[in-house]
Amino acid sequence: MSDNPAFEQISGAIKSDDVVLFMKGTPVFPQCGFSSTVVQILSYLGVKFSSVNVLDDMDVREGIKQFSNWPTIPQLYVKGEFVGGCDIIREMFEEGELRDVFASKGIAMEEQAEA
């Protein structure tokens, strides 16, 4: 499993920023409704994030599924930890849990900039 050459690239991307979203398309031009939903939630919370467009690289597109042991895209990583895909992120957002995750990990949210 660890001999997948895409894993190095993926783990490099995950370490490159506190919040990293593996998605189809880009935040400005998402090419999948599920990816778009997560982008909208992150934008709403005012969280800065990096994104990886899996459509640019077939090895990453397939590799990330093995890497996370998660079959679908998008996938959100916070401080190197897999938090969830679209359904989980949406549910956590609706329950207010996503905000707590970012707060507990020291991720700045623009909404709370004045606090």
């Binding site: 599920f34 599924k65 042991n69 998660w70 079959p71 679908t72 969830g84 359904d87 989980i88």
Partner: protein, 77 residues
Amino acid sequence: MAMAAAEIEKLIRTALPDAEVTIADLAGDGDHYSAVVTSPSFAGMTRVQQHKMVYDALEGRMGGELHALALQTSAPK
């Protein structure tokens, strides 16, 4: 490649016999489903762990022949 709702339900029930499963065909095209799965087995698990159990039940079809399954899982309250 489409998949029948009954087949999805059967796979989940086989892996999680105590689960309550509700499947909806969102677009009526046999390709975009939602599933609500409630099972005592989920107690104490994170959402990621719960979803992984359901994905495991689908034996690799998720993300393949099953394109879209909006998933909501919980333990009974």
